[in-house]
């Protein structure tokens, strides 16, 4: 534990001379800041390589103990390089490419990265063992919010900006024949082979360049890389996605791919459906667990080789290399080549080992087995590999630990037909052998994809245009050569201590303590200690955790097994999952007019409707005294054709329909099988076998589905065709005492006189020169009104003509709010507002409408039972005794003993009556007109209201029947 100031590395490690495989552009320099200090890097640098080149060694503080940490893998998985970049937290600094002007900061250190007071956590380390939070903060529960605030200040994480970001996230679909996950030599060869066999290929690589380990290899590897790169580029059938990750494999090869580094797009989620998947994820180098293994300066061999060969960065001055394989040997050679003093090479294959790394703020010496100490600022470990088998596990394989090769290994034989594995994840080999393995696997993948394509092409088609030829599958499966994996020493931990999970700060001792406490299954151990639950998601830690557990329990590693490799392979941002926010909206044909005339928009379901045009009360008065027009296009409309329509209507509505004459309109209410009110509306008979059925605006889709459900399942023998025509008509309600005069100025061939076109009738006519308009004499407002359904493309024309023709009549457009007031004055209930999901028909004021003497209809048994048992709530009118108080909707109505007896369902100030009026659901013993009840507002205030008839204005209906 170090709480003393940690300075920059005393070493002068920095940028090396040009390296053969380097990916930086030395001709350009990028300025960026590190905790406010201006530094330079080159295009191609990662944030971490630029910092290391600038001599920075401590890049972060650890999650729990705030220990200084530096690079280890120098890759996407590096747990020691999570940064805040501008407003973006938790940026993987060893992967993110440097950009000009990046504001890079260490996360959650105080007062500084070098001197972090939170490192006092280390002093309390013995108290921060696994389960510490659970055991300590569980009681008293009421204090948890306070605990939470304090704990948050000690968590090593970045901060998000409260200001919504401007980043654009995107989504697309893809249907490639083959997805190759992993762009190393085997993956590239597989992609090329599949493309040459005629397949379309997505080649997905997590790194910024294709090539895998070839990139940091010697001249032979670089030559192979150039050859493979050229081959990939030469195949137009390959789409390369670098800086992208195949996150999961779901059924039928449904593969989410997160694509980064796109111009103008933060991330794009590609939803790919591949005919075959080739998993060529390579191998991940595994860290070694020993005392001091988290000190800055302890690097994996691949981390060193990346820094040296890709970014031309010197990782240290004096090195000790612990090697158990040729990659460790190559790292030692690389270091020597660039002038790093390789003080000792410890060869684990000869039984040599290390005990611990020592130092303050970084490695200063390495203690070897036998006790010798070697002064060094760099300790390189090369102790083995982990096969990242997540996609294979998700495909049904369950890799088993192989002690000979010291890794969990997949079994291609257990994979489904549409998933293959290639390259290092299967076994090792020379570059040529890996390429040959990938090539054969790619050809086999294309062969299997072609088989799927032929199956699809076999679907009968009436298309005369010939389809493109489908590649012929090979007569026989491709023989994929074996990759022979050499023996490897089992090196997980030397038992001296150190951290098993550097993301979560879980040490060897803590794991052992947890196992002693009884958490001796790998799944329990994970959950109790949080080991493997950090940003690396176990890629570096799981196998070491399994080894520790196996050792402690005396079981084999194969018996111990791993935790489940669930989607996603790598953490995915919520932005990538959300994609581009795009909620469909619907507009009426008159929307441009509404916008031009200052309508305040109301979002009603998907519809954008005018709520009002500035003064809803004045709009109400205009309708009551003159004439108003409202856009009611969203009213659901179903065109019904066929001889059996009356049977259908009899079944769906609670009232009777058998004798509706042509030209007549009837109001109906539908209930579901449970008797709950489903929808209401009017239906008119336009012809002998032709009806137009209207529904509520929000219920249009539900009713269509409801009707089709009955027709297709209960009565397929009935001849009825239902076609949704909601938007085939622009619907305009003309309401008010002057409505007849106004409509009469524009209608042709129709006598509007009451005796010729009475209330609840329907006619077709020409309006404003537009033929085939449907006019209904109905009204929701209680006024004389005509609902005109205009062929939609002419809706705007008719609306404009109505406004022009009614200017002298004082015609006023009115919105949804005025309509709500008007209908409340008239006592018309709205399904879904004055009813809810429990309101059965008799509670909705429909007692006169429900015809229990009909032989059958949807909901009849429940309604009959409701009627029989009685005692149900009633829909009543209510008026606060103080006429100026408008109770909020959903206010409760109290019984005399203070219990809840009902609720206010609709409530407005009535411009017509000059007082507040309401509708409500009320228990029957309080529902008698004249009863005074207590209405409790949401703020607790009580007011007195009197029960009235639901119809507040014109209860006789004289105004609408003129």
């Amino acid at each position: 534990m170090t709480i003393l100031p940690i300075t920059r590395s005393t070493a002068t490690s920095g940028r090396l001379g040009p390296q053969p495989g380097e990916v930086i552009d030395r001709h350009r320099t990028l300025d960026f800041t590190w905790n406010g200090r201006v530094l330079q890097g080159h295009p191609g640098d990662t944030l971490a390589s630029a910092l290391t080149a600038a001599g920075e060694r401590v890049l972060s503080r650890s999650y729990k103990y705030h220990r200084p940490r530096g690079l280890s893998t120098a890759s996407y998985l590096d747990p020691g390089a999570l940064f805040q970049v501008g407003d973006e937290p938790n940026v993987r600094g060893a992967h993110r490419l440097l950009r000009e002007g990046d504001d890079v900061r260490s996360q959650n250190t105080w007062p500084s990265l070098a001197f972090d007071l939170k490192a006092v956590n280390g002093l309390a380390g013995r108290f921060l063992a696994p389960g510490f939070y659970y055991k300590t903060f569980i009681k008293p529960e009421r204090l948890w919010p306070s605990y939470e605030k304090v704990l948050r200040t000690f968590v090593h994480a970045g901060e998000i900006s409260p200001v919504p970001g401007t980043e654009v996230y995107d989504k697309r679909y893809a249907h490639p024949d083959v997805v190759v996950a992993g762009g190393g030599p085997a993956g590239m060869a597989a992609a090329v082979a599949a493309a040459r066999a005629g397949a379309s290929v997505l080649l997905v690589e997590e790194e910024h360049q294709l090539g895998g380990h070839l990139r940091w290899g010697g001249s032979a590897e670089l030559a192979a890389l150039r050859e493979l790169t050229a081959a990939v580029a030469a195949e137009p059938g390959i789409e390369v996605m670098t800086d992208s990750v195949a996150g999961a494999r779901f059924d039928d090869n449904w593969i989410p791919i997160v694509q980064r580094s796109l111009p103008g797009v933060a991330e794009r989620l590609v939803k790919a459906r591949a005919k075959t998947l080739v998993v060529a994820a390579g191998l991940i180098e595994r860290p070694y667990v020993f005392a001091g293994n988290d000190l800055p300066g302890v690097l994996l061999s691949t981390g060193v080789r990346r820094l040296v060969n890709l970014h031309a960065v010197r990782p240290g001055q004096r090195a000790v290399v612990l090697t158990a394989n040729p990659d460790g040997d190559a790292a030692a050679a690389d270091l020597a080549r660039v002038g790093v003093d390789v003080a000792a090479v410890i060869d684990a294959r000869r039984g040599e080992g290390i005990v611990a790394a020592h130092g303050r703020g970084g490695v200063q010496s390495v203690e070897l087995t036998g006790g010798r100490r070697v002064e060094a600022d760099l300790l390189v470990t090369a102790v083995g590999w982990t096969a990242p088998t997540s996609l294979l596990n998700q495909s049904g394989d369950d890799p088993v630990y192989d002690p000979r090769t010291a890794r969990f290994r997949p079994d291609p034989a257990r994979l489904p037909d549409n998933v293959l594995a290639a390259g290092g994840i299967v076994g090792e080999g020379s570059t040529d052998e890996l390429v040959a393995h990938g090539d054969a696997t790619g050809r086999e993948a294309a062969r299997r994809a072609a088989r799927v394509a032929r199956r699809l092409a076999a679907v009968p088609t009436a298309v005369t245009t010939p389809r493109p030829p489908v590649p012929q599958p090979d007569a026989a499966p491709v023989v994929v050569p074996e990759l022979v994996t050499p023996d490897h020493p089992e090196l997980f931990t030397n038992g001296t201590g150190g951290f098993v999970d550097q993301c979560e700060d879980v040490g060897l001792k803590e794991l052992r303590t947890a196992i002693r406490e009884g958490y001796d299954s790998v799944e329990l151990l994970k959950r109790y200690t949080t080991a493997t639950m950090g940003p690396t998601q176990g890629k570096l830690e799981t196998v070491n955790m399994v080894a520790v557990l196996a050792q402690a329990t005396g079981r084999t590693m194969a018996e111990t097994g791993t935790t489940t490799w669930r989607p996603m392979y790598a953490p995915v941002t919520l932005g990538a999952l959300a994609g581009r926010p795009s909620e469909p909206v619907r507009y009426s044909p008159m929307q441009p007019w509404h916008e031009r005339h200052g309508a305040v928009p109301l979002v009603a379901g998907q519809w954008i409707r005018p709520e009002h045009y500035g003064d809803p009360a004045a709009e109400v008065t205009a309708v009551r005294t003159r004439v108003g027009i409202i856009d009611v296009t969203p009213i659901g409309k179903l065109d019904l054709r066929g001889p059996d329509i009356p049977k259908l209507l009899e079944l769906l509505y609670v009232n009777k329909w058998q004798r509706l004459a042509v030209g007549r309109v009837r109001y109906g209410v539908m209930c579901a099988e449970d008797g709950v009110v489903l929808d209401d509306g009017v239906t008119g008979r336009l012809g002998e076998d032709h009806y137009l059925c209207s529904t509520t605006s929000s219920g249009a889709a539900t009713v269509w589905e409801w009707v089709e459900n009955w027709l297709q399942t209960a009565h397929p023998e009935w001849q009825v065709h239902v076609t949704p025509v909601t938007t085939a008509y622009a619907s305009i309600n003309v309401a008010g005492p002057h409505s007849r005069e106004l409509v009469g100025r524009l209608v042709e061939g129709l006598d509007l006189a009451s005796e010729a076109f009475g209330y609840m009738n329907v006619r077709s006519a020409t309006v404003a020169g537009v033929a085939d308009c449907v006019l209904w004499r109905i009204g929701f407002t209680g006024e004389l009104s005509y609902e005109i359904h205009v062929p939609a493309a002419y809706g705007l024309h008719v609306w404009e003509r109505l406004m022009a023709a009614g200017e002298d009549l004082g015609v006023t457009p009115f919105g949804v709010e005025a309509q709500r007031i008007l209908r409340l004055e008239k006592g018309h209930a709205i399904v879904g507002q004055d009813t809810d999901g429990l309101t059965q028909g008799f509670s909705a004021g429909l007692g006169d409408l429900i015809k229990l003497d009909k032989p059958d209809f949807a909901g009849k048994p429940e309604l009959a039972w409701q009627h029989e048992r009685g005692g149900h709530p009633r829909l009543v009118g209510l008026r606060p005794v103080d006429p100026t108080i408008v109770p909020p909707e959903a206010s409760q109505i109290l019984d005399r003993d203070g219990s809840i007896a009902g609720r206010i369902t609709s409530s407005r100030m009535s411009p017509t009556l000059g007082r507040a009026i309401c509708l409500g659901q009320l228990e029957p013993d309080l529902a008698e007109i004249g009863t005074r009840v207590t209405v409790r507002h949401p703020d607790g205030r009580d007011v007195v209201a009197e029960v009235t008839d639901p119809v507040h204005v014109d209860p006789e209906g004289a105004r609408q029947r003129v």
Binding site: G264, A462, T464, S582, P584, W607, T723, V725, A792, R801
Partner: protein, 225 residues
């Protein structure tokens, strides 16, 4: 357009660019300069037919579910009528602007003689129709539609119902009707009218990176002209 014009003008739900009136419809006069275009084809006559999945009416229509054919319906126009098998027992019949009533009447006559339960409805005003055409059209569509648009799965003449930008849409591949100035696939996208503006906006947004432009009305003759 004037707010007091006495002559009825039919308007699409999709706001036109540089509007002009042709065949009684307000259409966009702006032509696309590039290969990739989105044109508003809402003025086309659109007639829906319901009939048994198999039978005399289906035979008379000449095409089954999931495919299209060009035909002539009692003089409405040889090759100018596109019959789309849009659903099981559902057909969408497209023709030149203004031909909706004639087309519906002709279909009623032709199919009425089958003796089957058939209904014919002119939905010209109830639906919006756009055409997305050009070499990159499948890439644009792949950003808002989950269907495999490869030639082997969705060839010219294919028809299907799916969601495009979360809107229920009939997708009809009709390369022959594509704009004469473009090559590559051409898709007719048919939605209920009120979603037309949203769909067009979503497509233009998806197509921005490919240089998608709005084009003028094409009709059905397209590359035949």
């Amino acid at each position: 357009m004037s707010e007091t014009s006495e002559e009825p003008i039919a308007r699409s739900p999709i706001a036109p660019q540089a509007p002009v009136v042709r065949f009684g419809w307000e259409i966009s006069a702006r032509a696309a300069r590039g290969d990739l275009s989105l044109s508003d084809e809402t003025p086309l006559a659109k007639v829906a037919v319901r009939a048994p999945f198999r039978g005399a009416a289906a035979d008379a229509l000449g095409v089954g579910f999931g495919r299209t054919t060009r035909t002539d319906v009692d003089g409405v126009g040889v090759g100018d009528v596109l019959v789309v098998g849009s659903g099981p027992g559902e057909w969408l019949v497209l023709a030149a602007p203004g031909r909706g009533p004639d087309l519906a009447a002709a279909l009623t006559r032709r199919l009425g003689s089958s003796g089957e339960f058939v209904s014919v409805i002119d939905l010209t005003h109830g639906r919006a129709l756009v055409r997305l055409a050009g070499r990159a059209a499948p890439q644009v569509l792949a950003k808002v539609c989950g269907i495999d648009l490869s030639d082997s799965v969705t060839p010219d003449g294919a028809a299907l119902r799916t969601t495009v930008a979360r809107v229920v849409t009939d997708v009809v591949r009709d390369d022959r009707g594509g704009p004469p100035s473009s090559v590559g696939p051409s898709y007719l996208l048919h939605v209920e009218r009120s979603s037309g503006q949203f769909l067009a906006g979503a497509l233009l947004d998806a197509g921005a990176e490919f240089g998608l432009e709005t084009g003028t009305f094409v009709g059905l003759a397209g590359r035949d002209t």
